[in-house]
């Protein structure tokens, strides 16, 4: 019950923050969607980091380390530290500059201009929204799971079927409702503030969680002694990558390229006050990833050996089944901390989840109004107030679809995340070529998107729709089998299609090239 009260207080404080930031709202759709380009370095760092660190980073990384061992950090965290900042540096700053110059709010506006094609939006819109939905699903599913696990036994008379816990469907519904309300009130400014607040919360509480879990498991006098005792019980296969193929590990490197095409990140980039605002995010992002992921991975691998520690029970069997590993972090928090601390730590986990959901909610509303409603309906057809209402209605529709899907899905957060990110990564060649390759043509871009979507659907089906968690593209060369992550095939197909078709078709007009590739004075 204590955890429940703390979670309620936390959710209420977020609503308060959203309502407060709405008092600064300037009433225009530009302010609602881009905070009038007013976000400085610190808010930009925190909002970008909070957005990219989802349930995937906390709940997913702990659960995956529990299954696969410490190699998980190298597969996604250290690679992301290199690739994410590379994307902010190479793409983010350039996108901000073009958006600032030509007034873009969404990716599709940029592509329509650069490719001299109106219809590219019709092709890209469903692909991008279709990929955002599984990303949303990760957060919606994880939030319900977290609340359900932590409130077990709190309401025995009301929720008998779930052993007195708030059912996952109700937890997810509540979190969606809270995020919707503060996004609706605060728009992009409220989202940036809420992200900053939540990022601070989950980083601090993450470190506290790590300390408390180590202390409770180790039962020694000193912190380092606790770490030594707990780590000594980790099974050897979880300390090494002996069960992960080297080629598979290498091809994981392509997954973080997804940040280059995340529509919600694109929108965050455009909120920057100046190009210099990016500098802090570029430098601090890898370090922040380390601060969040190292403790999560260690907790995950500690769990594999904790049954050998004196006075610690065996882990329950549900953690080993299907998406059960998603519950590991919350289970550990609930089992090893006091109800009061457990409540705060759970709030921290929810903070990480919600700091991504809010940006995703806002971005799909923005894309729908800007790329479909205003683009096809005409700029003067709707007032700013009507545009904001349309955005909100579309957000509610997409959240309802995602919520509905979450009721049936039981995949691991990590697996779902990797498939979702792989889809965005396969479109990375498109944004990179749009900004740096003059020869990219409209037809080349179409070929790229179709090849990316086609290979994604094909490979996703081949993996039994993510049921086969360890699905890889197996390449046999000289009797040796090389396991490639599916993202490798997707990026290869989209890049080859884009280059070949672009070279075979008419280059863009001189006017477009002058606009996007001006001569340096």
């Amino acid at each position: 019950m204590t955890q429940f009260i703390i979670i309620c207080c936390y959710l209420a404080s977020l609503l308060g923050l959203g309502i407060f930031s709405s008092r600064l709202f300037r009433g225009t759709s530009k302010d609602y969607m881009l905070a009038s380009h007013s976000i400085g370095p610190f808010l930009l760092l925190m909002s970008i980091f909070g957005t990219t660190m989802t349930a995937f980073a906390l709940v997913g990384s702990t659960g995956e380390a529990f299954k696969e061992g410490v190699g998980v950090y190298g597969m996604l965290a250290s690679s992301s530290g290199i690739i994410h900042s590379l994307c902010f540096f190479v793409l983010g700053v350039k996108v901000w500059s073009l958006g600032h110059k030509y007034g873009y709010t969404t990716q599709i506006q940029l592509f329509r201009d650069r490719l001299e094609s109106d219809k590219i939006g019709v092709l890209l819109f469903p692909v991008l929204v279709g990929l955002v939905i599984p990303y949303l699903l990760i957060g919606v599913m994880a939030s319900g799971t977290v609340i359900s696990v932590v409130t077990k036994g709190a309401f025995p008379g009301i929720f008998e079927a779930s052993a007195g816990a708030i059912p996952a469907w109700l937890g997810s519904l509540t979190v969606c409702g809270v995020v919707l309300i503060y996004v609706f009130f605060g728009g992009m400014r409220g989202t940036a503030w809420a992200n900053t607040f939540q990022t601070i919360v989950f980083m601090i509480l993450g470190v506290v969680t790590f300390y408390v879990i180590a202390t409770e498991l180790g039962k020694q006098d000193g912190f380092i002694d606790n770490l030594r005792v707990v780590s000594s019980k980790i099974p050897t296969d979880k300390l090494t990558r002996s069960h992960i193929s080297k080629v598979k590990f290498f091809t994981y490197f392509f997954v973080p390229l997804s940040v280059g095409m995340f529509p919600h990140l694109f929108q965050h980039w455009l909120t920057a006050k100046s190009a210099n605002s990016f500098k802090l995010a570029v430098v601090a992002h890898p370090l922040f990833i380390m601060i969040v992921w190292v403790p999560c991975v260690l907790v995950g691998v500690w769990a594999t050996g904790m049954a050998d520690l004196p006075g610690i029970d065996k882990l329950p069997s549900f953690l080993y089944k299907g998406g059960g590993s998603n519950k590991l972090l919350v289970f550990m928090v609930g089992k090893l901390t006091t109800p009061m601390l457990g409540g705060f730590l759970t709030a921290g986990i929810l903070a990480a989840i919600m700091s991504s959901l809010d940006s995703q909610f806002l971005c799909i509303g923005t894309m729908f109004t800007e790329d479909i409603v205003v683009h096809y309906g005409g700029k003067d057809r709707f007032s700013d107030k009507q545009t904001i209402i349309i955005a909100r209605l579309f957000i509610i529709a997409i959240v309802a679809i995602t919520y509905f899907l979450s009721l049936f899905d039981n995949k691991t957060v990590f697996t779902l995340g990797v498939w979702c990110f792989s889809g965005f990564s396969s479109l990375f060649p498109l944004i990179f070529a749009a900004l740096y390759w003059k020869r990219l043509t409209k037809a080349g871009a179409y070929a790229c998107v179709i090849a990316a979507a086609g290979t994604w659907i094909y490979l996703f089906a081949q993996s039994d729709f993510a049921v086969n968690r360890s699905y890889t593209i197996d390449l046999t060369i000289g009797g040796e089998i090389y396991e490639l992550m599916p993202v490798t095939g997707m990026i290869l197909a989209s890049t080859v299609a884009m280059i070949v078709v672009s070279l075979l078709t008419k280059p863009p007009s001189e006017a477009t090239l002058a606009k996007f590739f001006p001569e340096k004075s």
């Binding site: 190298g74 290199i82 600032h100 380092i224 590990f249």
Partner: protein, 77 residues
């Protein structure tokens, strides 16, 4: 200097593929798996590399502030 920065990024990508640590189960300081410590080091090295990048390879042909910000500041003045 710009080329040195891009070379550093390539070196980081190569160092990330640490085949030499693959089967090493050493616990550094008695508690930190060597694989995890090495890759945490890669994260720190990435931070340092990107710090050098913003110092020496930052694009110089960008407008520094948005028109919206400029006009707000102008109004305040």
């Amino acid at each position: 200097m710009k080329y040195v920065i891009w070379l550093l990024v390539i070196v980081l990508i190569i160092l990330h593929q640490d085949n030499w640590n693959w089967d090493d189960d050493t616990l550094v300081f008695g508690f930190m798996p060597i694989t995890l410590l090495y890759h945490a080091g890669i994260s720190v090295a990435a931070g340092v590399t990107w710090f050098l990048a913003i110092q020496f390879a930052w694009p110089t042909d960008l407008d520094e502030e948005t028109p919206a910000t400029k006009s707000e500041e102008g109004a305040e003045a």
